[in-house]
């Protein structure tokens, strides 16, 4: 690599670095604005990837057409010939684009935090899917188009020194660095504005640097030198250090007020898990997690009903397990019973730390009660640990978590988790979980979700009692004959324990256990539904349908139909597409971008599947998941490095290699489900460490490697056919991203919830396999 080539490498790496950090920060910001279920998150990610794809392929061409400028038609490593108005490798466009990125970054945050006002949302209004989709696309367009375009511009700028594959490699390296830095340093120590302004400063510095170096080159050619100019990073760094903290503070204050218009915001904090906000009205404080209402102080009835029904079901509750619910008053109510110990499990310590300052005295005292032991970790992880180390310990277990709107929450609604809960309960123990329902009329969507929860609980516990309502409760016991619907028994226990309540009265209990209500419970919970499993998380799907029905009957009906989705249809589509490609109805060159798109999609699917399986098997442990995600990018980098090395001059060899990669991808995909089953079936904890620290990162590196290796091979193949380097870069980069975008949408939102993990992997294997066959049979340019 020449000295001049080396000088632009950091600037190219900065594209990946900026992309990954920008993505992390902006998706977190979007989550606070929109409703963050899997479908919405997939839509945001899809928007991101599609815009980058557009930026890399469409825009450079558009501008090229407009300015009648044609770049160099050269392959990798070939010296460029001036062809048109500007010399090839001119850094002007790159520099300008990078400067534009620097400017747009902070505007993005401002925009996202203003989206609610712009979209005309009322305070407290929760967005539906279509506004989420539309506004995510609108919000992410400027930055992502610039980032995609920047990649093409980088290929063009460095066309005489670096191949497209090498540019891709350096960009990936930047992503790895950015991923590591954001996961392990930035999100711990800095708020979004500080991160974004810092990123802006870096991009600005790079833009200036690239431009300066270019000018320097021209001067060198003319024989003059500008040594002083080489000190350019110093003033920029100084300015950044001095200006960023106050600017960030100012912008944070300004933009938060916009996001929380209509509320009186008293606190907003970003932890590694997301955003926590506290609002106040009178003496009532409300806690929001990623923009969603978590709990409200003084919501007495909810806390009282949540705690007392289940505790009264147990004749002598001494040892209690509480998962979630520390800010909702549940803990306070639990402690009114003569309990000896309460293990309270909460994922995010920041939540309690923050809440402590705003909770009313009784709740603060409850948190400090000597009987309470706090455990800050994933609820599922805690229960699984207790199930092996401390089985049959608790008298009562309460699960107070949101409805299964994300894969992370759904893990607490599955059969396998409930089995672990049964394991930690005494034989005559009582378990309760809350679930959204309807007091008066359950829609079909609601019935499905409620029935899914109820049936899954019933599958594990000997006895189940469901109390309907807008906040329904499902009570269960490992042994039958423990639960009672006899009001007088429960009221006697209530009196005996001298429990004082603010709003809950015996009449509530009588009504909830009245024959009419129990009959109604059958209507709500007794319907047909599939069981919710770890690797077949149908609860996610039912929740998605329920949510969509509140906004659009059309979307709801489409999603309902998705349950009938059959792999056969997919196969028919695949067969047709392959037929078209093989028989030459489509241009032969289409096979290469298509193959790349397939791998892009597969890569996304694997990443989603691996993170999902990791959470199921090893719990939601922030830094480990960050490691798995980073491992993917490490694999990506290693794969593209390998491919830039082995790339052959002969097109046929490259094509066969690409086909081979797709074939390996298919095999890899087929291998994943048995691998997960093996890890899940193993005696608990026996190879937990190896699985979490070696197997998962290893599997993820392979996934990244397969995706990363494809790009340089495809670009060599493409450029070898005489396509201009920058154009090839644009098209291939776009194909990769469009595939990834579709992969993200399909996998997270539909394939996993509807088909489950095994069939998702099978689907990916099928698509990859077909891609491989097409590439093998379709001889192009050999």
């Amino acid at each position: 690599m020449s000295k001049v080539a080396g000088s632009v490498v950091p600037s190219i790496a900065l594209i990946g670095f900026t992309s990954i950090i920008g993505q992390v920060v902006l998706l977190r910001e979007l989550l606070v604005v929109f409703y963050g279920n899997e479908l919405s998150v997939a839509a945001m990610l899809a928007a991101w990837l599609l815009w980058v794809a557009t930026g890399s392929s469409l825009f450079p061409r558009l501008i090229g057409v407009l300015s009648r400028e044609s770049g160099p038609a050269c392959g990798p490593g070939t010296a460029d010939a001036p062809n048109g108005t500007r010399a090839a490798g001119h850094p002007g466009p790159f520099s300008a684009l990078q400067a534009a990125v620097a400017l747009v970054l902070p505007l993005e945050i401002l925009f996202v935090r203003n989206v609610r006002s712009l979209a005309g949302a009322l305070p407290g209004e929760v967005f539906g899917f279509f506004p989420t989709l539309v506004w995510s696309f609108v919000a992410l367009a400027p930055l992502c188009i610039l980032l995609g375009w920047l990649f093409t511009a980088a290929c063009q700028m460095a066309a005489d020194r670096l191949s497209v594959g090498q540019v891709y490699l350096y960009e990936s390296m930047g992503s790895v660095a950015g991923g590591l830095l954001s996961s392990f340093v930035l999100l711990y120590h800095f708020d979004p504005w500080q991160i974004i302004l810092g990123l802006s400063a870096l991009n600005l510095a790079s833009a200036w640097g690239v431009w300066k170096v270019a000018r320097g080159r021209e001067r060198e050619l003319r024989g003059s030198r500008g040594r002083l100019a080489r000190l350019w990073p110093l003033p920029i760094a100084l300015a950044a250090i001095l200006l960023i903290p106050p600017a960030a503070a100012f912008l944070q204050d300004l933009s938060l007020r916009q996001r929380w218009r209509g509320y009186e915001l008293v606190e907003s904090r970003d932890s590694i898990y997301g955003n926590l906000a506290v609002t106040v009205r009178g003496s009532q404080h409300s806690f929001f997690e990623n923009g969603l209402l978590l709990s409200t102080t003084e919501d007495f009835l909810a806390a009282e009903e949540g705690a007392h029904y289940v505790l009264l079901e147990h004749p002598k509750p001494r040892r209690v397990l509480l998962i979630g619910g520390g800010t909702s008053g549940l803990l306070r109510e639990v402690l009114k019973h003569p309990v000896e110990s309460v293990d309270y499990v909460e994922l995010d310590p920041t939540l309690i730390e923050t809440a402590k300052r705003f909770l009313p005295a009784p709740d603060r005292l409850a948190l400090r009660d000597p009987r309470v032991a706090m455990h800050f970790l994933d609820g599922r992880l805690y229960v699984q640990g207790q199930a092996t180390q401390n089985p049959h310990y608790y008298d009562v277990a309460l699960l107070a978590v949101p409805h299964p709107f994300t894969a992370q929450v759904n893990r607490l609604y599955t059969l396998e988790f409930l089995q672990a809960v049964r394991q930690v309960l005494q034989g005559d123990g009582v378990f309760s979980m809350g679930i959204i329902s309807a007091e008066n009329y359950p829609s079909q969507e609601m019935q499905r979700l409620d029935a899914c929860v109820y049936r899954t609980v019933k599958e594990v516990f000997a006895e189940v009692l469901a109390l309907p309502g807008d906040h329904a409760l499902v009570l269960a016991s490992p042994r039958s004959g423990v639960l009672t619907a006899d009001v007088s028994t429960l009221l006697a226990r209530w009196q005996e324990r001298r429990i004082e309540t603010a709003l809950l009265t015996p009449s509530h209990l009588r009504l909830r256990l009245s024959p009419e209500r129990l009959e109604y419970a059958r209507r709500t919970f007794g319907g047909p539904a599939l069981l919710n499993h770890d690797f077949e998380p149908i609860g996610l799907y039912y929740d998605l349908v329920l949510w969509s029905g509140q906004y659009s009957a059309g979307l709801r009906d489409i999603l309902r139909g998705a349950l009938a989705f059959h792999s056969v249809w997919l196969l028919l589509v695949l067969a047709t597409v392959s037929l078209a490609l093989m028989t030459g109805i489509t241009p032969p060159g289409a096979a290469v971008p298509l193959g790349l798109a397939v791998l892009g999609g597969a890569g996304m699917a694997w990443e989603v599947v691996l993170v999902f399986a990791f959470q199921v098997l090893h719990g939601y442990v922030y830094h480990q998941i960050a490691l798995v995600v980073t491992a993917f990018m490490v694999g990506l980098t290693a794969g593209s490095w390998w491919a830039t090395r082995v790339r052959a001059e002969e097109a046929g060899a490259n094509r066969r290699r690409l086909a081979l990669i797709l074939g390996v991808a298919a095999a890899y995909s087929l291998l994943l489900p048995p691998a997960f089953s093996f890890l899940a079936a193993g005696p608990a904890g026996s190879y937990g460490f190896v699985s979490a620290q070696v197997v998962f990162p290893g599997l993820t590196i392979i996934a990244g490697g397969l995706v990363g290796a494809a790009f340089p091979l495809a670009s060599a193949l493409y450029v070898g056919q005489g396509t201009r380097a920058s154009r090839a870069a644009g098209i291939l980069y776009a194909a990769d991203l469009v595939g990834a975008s579709l992969g993200a949408l399909a996998t997270g939102a539909l394939l996993i919830p509807v088909l489950g993990l095994a069939q998702t992997a099978l689907t990916v294997a099928l698509i990859s396999g077909f891609g491989s066959v097409v590439l093998l049979t379709r001889r192009w340019g050999d």
Binding site: L122, P123, G124, E125, V126, G128, G262, R281, G282, S283, Q284, L293, T296, D299, L301, A438, N440, Y441, S443, Q444, M446, D470, A502, L503, T505, P506, S507, H508, R510, L511, E516, E519, Y520, R523, G526, G527, P528, L530, I538, Q550, A553, L563, A564, H566, S567, V568, L571, L574, A575, S578, L579, M582, T583, G584, Q721, V754, L755, Q759, L766, T777
Partner: protein, 398 residues
């Protein structure tokens, strides 16, 4: 780029065909592990609810609407509510329950009930009528408002064919109420007045058998049908959702003035017992000036005796991100209304709160003690306070 000629060589065709055949075989293998939704199973019959299973295809025929006008080209104008929808042939009005079938307007929800069950009368927020009794409560699909916080959106915001409904003719409803020993029937949850034909027939049948008829409504109804309605029912609770046109427009897609006209008309009519509820949504209609204005209007137009509820909002439907109303806010509203001279002001939707009790407006003694959904004691005797003899308005006896 090399542009290949579109030519289907024999070899390629065979390749394609082989791929196609292979995929079909693989597909049938996969079909075995495909997940298919369980067959729809119907809910078990309820004892006091509707009989057996919901009937997806109604046997009950749509009933011709009472209030509409025929226009040119087969169009009709619905005259049931202030929206006065102009409806083309085959189309429906805003409420989705009234359809133009060949130039005639039909109600699609006549005799099609999706909720039917006994409920404590206190849950319907009617306090001065038969306290402590059960009321047989029924609902049909649809509503002519579109409140973003609707607790019953699954019924109210749905088209009639989207809900699970039972064929239950008015006489069936009455029979069920009698069987459950409910002295009254309440039409509630969604908007009973857009199911006007159903409402009227249920009311007539119920009163013929000595049952009282209660209606809980958003008050979005035209004067003429309202007049007819008042002759057939015993009590009505109107939801006055907020005392500002802006609130109605933004949150409910309606107009305040029509609701105020309805409330005044009921008061002037004098036949049904009237109570009014105001759901207090924090940040929207909870500010003191608005509450004061509401109370002033209330006193001027309805007098001091009509009971008024300030009800608690709970996050629901599309306003899930808004915290519930602080109880403090409701208590304050209650104080304001009492200070404005209103004699019966309640805190609604907070069962267990003492703001649900009835106190004598003169001597301040506790008259009706409501604990949760039960009436602990009712001291009103002969429509009077037993302590000071003050007349306590209401329909206290069955």
């Amino acid at each position: 780029m090399v542009q290949a000629k579109v030519r289907l060589s024999r070899r390629r065709f065979l390749q394609g065909a082989a791929a196609f055949a292979g995929s079909t075989v693989a597909g049938s293998l996969l079909a075995g592990c495909g997940r298919i939704a369980g067959a729809e199973r119907l809910p078990t019959p309820t004892t006091l609810g509707p009989e057996a299973s919901p009937s997806p295809t109604p046997r009950v025929r749509p009933k011709e609407a009472k209030y509409y006008a025929q226009l040119a080209n087969g169009q009709v104008r619905c005259l049931q509510c202030p929206r006065r929808c102009q409806i083309a042939t085959g189309a429906r009005g805003f409420c989705q329950t009234r359809e133009n079938q060949k130039g005639r307007l039909y109600s699609l929800v006549y005799g099609r009930l999706c909720i039917a069950r006994p409920v404590p009368i206190e849950k319907s927020a009617i306090f001065h009528l038969l306290p402590g009794t059960q009321s047989y409560s029924v609902a049909t699909a649809g509503c002519n408002l579109a409140c973003m916080y609707c607790q019953n959106y699954a019924v109210a915001r749905a088209r009639p064919e989207e809900v699970e409904a039972w064929d239950m003719l008015p006489e069936d409803v009455v029979a069920k109420a009698l069987q459950g020993r409910c002295p009254s029937i309440t039409l509630s949850y969604s908007e009973p007045t857009i199911a006007f034909e159903n409402l009227l027939e249920v009311a007539k049948a119920a009163r013929a058998r000595g049952l009282r008829v209660l209606v809980k409504t958003g008050g979005y109804i035209n004067g003429e049908p309202l007049k007819e309605l008042c002759g057939h029912i015993d009590a009505i609770n109107v939801d006055l959702k907020g005392f500002s046109e802006q609130f109605y427009q933004q949150v409910c897609q309606g107009e305040l003035r029509h609701v105020l006209e309805t409330i005044k008309a009921i008061k002037e009519d004098g036949r049904p017992w009237l109570e009014v509820a105001n759901l207090v949504v924090p940040g929207y209609n909870d500010n003191e000036p608005m509450i004061r204005a509401l109370c002033a209007w209330f006193k001027d137009n309805l007098g001091e005796e009509v009971p008024l509820f300030f009800s608690r909002f709970e996050p629901a439907y599309r306003l899930k991100g808004l915290p519930p109303t602080p109880i403090e806010t409701l208590e304050k509203a209650q104080q304001i209304a009492r200070a404005a001279g209103l004699r019966f002001v309640y805190v609604g939707n907070v069962p267990g709160h003492r703001g649900q009790n009835t106190y004598c407006p003169r001597c301040g003694k506790l008259l009706v003690e409501r604990v949760g959904f039960e009436v602990k004691q009712n001291r009103v005797a002969g429509g009077k306070c037993p302590y000071c003899g003050e007349a306590i308005v209401g329909r206290w006896q069955g």
